[in-house]
């Protein structure tokens, strides 16, 4: 009803294109979703090992700085000086005792408290701040933070629910599966600018339907296929989801016959590239975990990565990848992770399929904002499924999205 829009269906079997293309919708999402009572992923604890370490990050479109404080805690402050508003932190990462804004050298402690104003008392009796100026009134905008097993989240809300509450038990299960308390080691970053709305990037990982069909490499090598044992699990609200599956064989059967792109002749010359090693208690080989509103945790065989979305505009999303392993990985395991990293990312053997499709998806949507998509694979329900032939997780996402956005 807002912005003059009306959802095209009672249920979520239809999704209007305008949610992906209208800048006013995008602005409202910033307010309701990214600045809402939710937890945004901002960094890994492993990126801030020492007191004073800091790294720039984002909460939606808001630039923030994440820091390891003197007390060893974590703080997240807006990268916006309380004096005149400059984004004072001009470096991606570093270590410091205080944040000093270069423009007039106001200084803040790592929790964002204003600790120093240059020439506050003036110079030789001239100038200075008014008598009633109180440092305490001019701290940086701060965010609530929480750290769970090496992952740092931030929220702009005053009193967001606890993280595990906001995840729900099933999502906590899959989260703790990868983040089991072991120390993490960052292996490197990949960053890309995708010409598509953030929800398309998010849905892509909630949509197992496409994986079986678009990704020939995945399918033909049996890394992921519709006929393999798999599940789609969601939290109670539907905003989070986990796509769970097991690697199969490279065989053709009545299912692969339905896959035009299936190619049983596809074999790797370098078999080391995808050679798996079991490292998790369960038998699952792939878990793609989408955590509202901005995080995707990837466990694809032995590649582990955080995919952090930074929405830039209705049609542009930055996707920031942080690949990691565990501090106790041996060299062989690390090498394995680095090799398998060929599969995903901006140059991924299957990743490329997604980025190219997303770009053309956005183009199609932009050409007809008033039209709507059809989301009926696996029926019109929004519950968990014990298979991959469903768009249930996409539907569930939009049940919650409509609620939050008031449509």
């Amino acid at each position: 009803m807002r912005l003059g829009y009306r959802w095209p269906s009672e249920d979520v079997s239809r999704i209007p294109h305008w949610v992906y293309t209208d800048e006013r919708v995008f602005a409202l999402e910033q307010e309701r979703i990214f600045a809402g009572p939710f937890w945004n992923y901002v960094a890994l604890s492993a990126e801030l090992p020492e007191r004073g370490d800091f790294v720039r990050s984002w909460v939606g479109t808001q630039p923030v700085v994440v820091a390891r404080t003197r007390s060893g805690g974590v703080s997240v402050v807006a990268n916006r000086c309380s004096h005149r508003g400059m984004s004072f932190c001009m470096e991606e990462r570093g270590n410091t005792k205080t944040f000093v804004c270069p423009y007039h050298q106001w200084s803040f402690d790592l929790e964002g408290r204003l600790t120093g104003v240059s020439f506050k008392r003036g110079v030789r009796g001239n100038g200075g701040m008014p008598a009633d100026f109180r440092l305490a009134d001019h701290g940086l905008t701060t965010y609530r933070t929480t750290e769970r097993n090496g992952v740092i989240f931030a929220s702009a809300a005053q009193e967001p629910p606890a993280l595990d509450e906001s995840f729900g038990p099933d999502m906590v299960h899959y989260f703790d599966r990868v983040f089991d308390g072991r120390e993490l080691r960052v292996l490197g970053y990949q960053r890309q600018r995708i010409p598509a709305n953030w929800k398309l990037v998010f849905e892509n990982i909630k949509d197992p339907y496409h994986a079986s069909l678009l990704h020939v490499f995945l399918v033909s090598l049996g890394l992921f296929r519709a006929d393999q044992p798999s599940r789609v699990v969601m939290d109670g609200t539907g905003r989070h989801a986990a796509l769970v599956s097991r690697r199969g064989q490279q065989v053709s059967n009545e299912v692969t016959e339905q896959i035009r792109t299936f190619d049983e002749r596809l074999v790797l010359n370098d078999t080391t590239m995808l050679a798996p090693a079991k490292e998790f208690p369960d038998e699952n080989t792939v878990v793609m975990h989408t955590l509202w509103p901005n995080l995707m945790v990837q466990q694809q065989t032995n590649t582990l990565a955080m995919r952090c979305m930074v929405p830039r505009s209705a049609g542009v999303t930055d996707l920031l990848w942080t690949y990691f392993g565990y501090a106790d990985d041996d060299d062989e395991m690390t090498l394995r992770r680095l090799r398998q990293a060929n599969l995903q990312g901006p140059a991924g053997l299957i990743g490329v399929d997604d980025w190219e499709v997303l770009a053309y998806h956005q183009q199609g949507l932009a050409s007809a904002p008033e039209a709507a998509g059809v989301v009926e694979m696996g029926g019109r329900g929004v519950g968990n499924e014990e298979h991959m032939v469903t768009e249930a997780a996409v539907r569930a996402f939009f049940v919650f999205y409509r609620e939050v956005m008031g449509w």
Binding site: G188, Y189, P346
Partner: protein
Amino acid sequence: MTETRTAPAAAGLDDWWQAYRLYTDYTELLDTRRLDEWVGLFEQDCVYRVVSAENDAAGLPLALMRCEGVPGLRDRVHAITDVSVYAPRIMRHVVSGLRLAPDGAGYLATASFVVTQSLEGDRTRLFAAGRYRDRLVRTGEELRFAEKTAVYDGTLIVNAVVYPL
């Protein structure tokens, strides 16, 4: 660092020119999408990597593309030519400042590159810039890449990297 100025003439002009021709083959075969021939410029046990300057400077091992040996290169080429889904495009490399320094049997080579991308239906756009840091070896008359690392400068990739840099 083998990049100081102390031994500028360490490698001879003829060697340099042969290396220049190797880089010319490299860029021409990439830009004309003759990828099977392109693989022929590498040693059997080569390592080819595309790495961000960010990871490179931080000493982080993650690459954007990583091919081990000719088999690894063949897998990547196979994916590009027969498997992956992407819109047609033309890439164009310019290479500059090729430096050659003797290194045991072969050479350490560095050069700057700028790459443009022309998507079908669009204008030509700047895609990437960076620096090659390579190891060349001589087999008979031929120079080949024993190791090739393309370190790209930009933090953000423009959507996807379809072809090797």
